[in-house]
């Protein structure tokens, strides 16, 4: 495996192996060890053409714990925002000797363009592209779900997950749907019909417009962020109405089954898709998702970079 562009690049065995590796790495991180020498001398570039402090910091912490050299190339102050082409940026990164590029980009498919081009040879890791995918987020979500709900099983067989909110524009949802299916979980999507893509009938998911009907039967409720600008594009009338039908509030929290958990990829709109008391409740694993993110991203970097032969890297 050279790149991580989409969850569809992974076999079930590869996905499980990333989760297993992350489990061992989490154990290391919990102890006295904060740094491993594994990627010493390797250069990882965080190319963030779109703001995302949390994902960037998570990848940066993961790379540093593996002793890689990290270069941050963020949108503000970089040439990406000044109209330099993706191609020229790639050529620059190649000249700098990047071994891996972690890319966050507003355009769907930008990471694949980098990976497929002959502009550079580095491994490409998709850290969120447009409304396409966010595979590392899905892996950390699966890691979190496995820890809480899988009862020791390596995969997520039989676990029921509801993904609620703006599926149409969510790269988190796309990656999660693919990965949850790969790992044997069943997925229900809950959203207003305007926020579900045309063509969704072919996806291996159940679709519901009724949140209350779905809640009691699932082990995981995964809330998606709703962007304020969707209101002006007629996707729903206003925030109040959205929140009434699709927000996770304390009344709906009571409908959840006893051992179920609440997830959110962040950043949250408290009071819109999730009520503050739900986000801070005992069922919420939202903060844990963040800390799991570092272990999972270490595992991704390890799997993609540690085993690469010197020869291949220098070609």
């Amino acid at each position: 495996m050279r790149h991580l562009l989409s969850i569809s690049d992974l076999s079930k065995a590869e996905a499980v192996s990333i989760l297993d590796t992350a489990t061992e790495l989490a154990r290391v991180s919990d102890g006295a060890v904060k740094k491993l020498p594994t990627l010493r001398g390797r250069t990882i570039v965080n190319l963030f053409a779109e703001d995302s402090t949390r994902t960037r910091i998570s990848f940066e912490a993961a790379a540093k714990r593996l002793s890689a050299d990290v270069i941050n190339f963020s949108a503000k102050g970089s040439s990406v925002s000044k109209g330099e082409s993706l191609k020229d940026t790639a050529l620059t990164l190649q000249a700098m000797g990047a071994d891996a590029v972690v890319i966050r980009h507003g355009a769907s498919g930008a990471p694949q363009r980098l990976a497929d081009s002959e502009w550079m040879l580095a491994s490409v890791i998709n850290a969120g592209d447009g409304t396409h995918e966010h595979p590392s987020q899905a892996l950390l979500d699966a890691f979190t779900i496995r820890k809480h709900c899988a009862k020791g099983a390596p995969d997520l067989a039989g676990i029921r997950v509801a993904i609620v909110g703006d599926v149409l524009h969510s790269r988190v949802a796309r990656s999660n749907i693919l990965l949850l299916n790969l790992l044997g979980a069943s997925v229900s999507l809950v959203a207003p019909p305007t926020l579900l893509p045309v063509g969704i009938e072919k996806w291996p998911v159940d679709i519901s417009y009724d949140f209350d009907a779905v809640i009691p039967s699932v082990d995981v409720v995964m809330m998606l962020r709703v962007q304020q600008e969707r209101m002006s594009n007629l996707f729903f009338p206003n925030a109040r109405e959205y929140s009434r039908y699709f927000g996770l509030n304390s009344d709906r929290l009571k409908l959840m089954s006893p051992h179920s958990i609440v997830m959110h990829p962040g950043p949250m709109n408290r009071g819109l898709e999730i009520a503050a008391e739900v986000a801070d409740s005992a069922r919420s694993v939202i903060v844990e998702q963040v800390s799991n993110g570092v272990s999972v991203r270490m595992a991704i970097l390890y799997v993609l970079l540690a085993g690469q032969s010197l020869e291949a890297g220098e070609k």
Partner: protein
């Protein structure tokens, strides 16, 4: 393929090593046995059990994965990580005995020393190996050896253990 050690010989070697470790470390309450996965970890459990019996006290045993510290990672496809488990008594100020199945180039042990260094500072670090086949590439030697097996570099030494392979034996194969 020739059998270098039979099940009985392995058992005897491990018993002897257990005695030797206790003799070399008079303050046996400071000893911690750490096996290097996968087969070293099983040998460590056997040695610790045997030592516990001899010393009539529980000898702490754990395992130490050294994958992330290897210097040959880039020459192979990525290896899955093995579990690390350090006994609750930790390694700080203790006499650590690393256990591996075959001592060869010495690089695994170097990686193990680095991995230990990340966790803490033992009082001493000692090394037990079931087989020492020679061809060292680093200044590393074993304190306790089950059997010295002179081999050529074209040969490979395979340790089979009942826990994994269903049989205890050490064989030499010509490649």
């Amino acid at each position: 393929m020739s059998v270098a050690l039979s099940a009985l010989e392995i058992s005897r070697a491990l018993t002897r090593i257990s005695h030797e470790i206790l003799e070399a470390n008079p303050s046996s309450d400071l000893i911690t046995i750490l096996g290097i996965p996968t087969r070293g970890a099983h040998l460590a459990v056997r040695i610790a059990a045997s030592m516990s019996q001899i010393a009539a006290r529980e000898i702490p045993v754990g395992m130490l994965d050294i994958t992330m510290h290897r210097d040959d990672l880039r020459m192979h496809p990525p290896r899955p990580l093995m579990p690390t488990s350090i006994p609750s008594s930790g390694i700080q100020g203790r006499d650590i005995v690393l256990v591996d199945d075959v001592l060869f180039s010495g690089r695994t042990i170097r990686a193990a020393l680095d991995a230990l260094g990340e966790i803490g500072r033992p009082r001493t670090v000692q090394l037990a190996a079931l087989v020492d086949r020679g061809h060292r590439e680093l200044p590393i030697r074993a304190d306790f050896v089950g059997k010295n097996l002179p081999t050529s570099t074209t040969q490979s030494v395979k340790v089979h253990l009942t826990e994994i392979d269903g049989i205890d034996q050490v064989v030499i194969e010509d490649n």
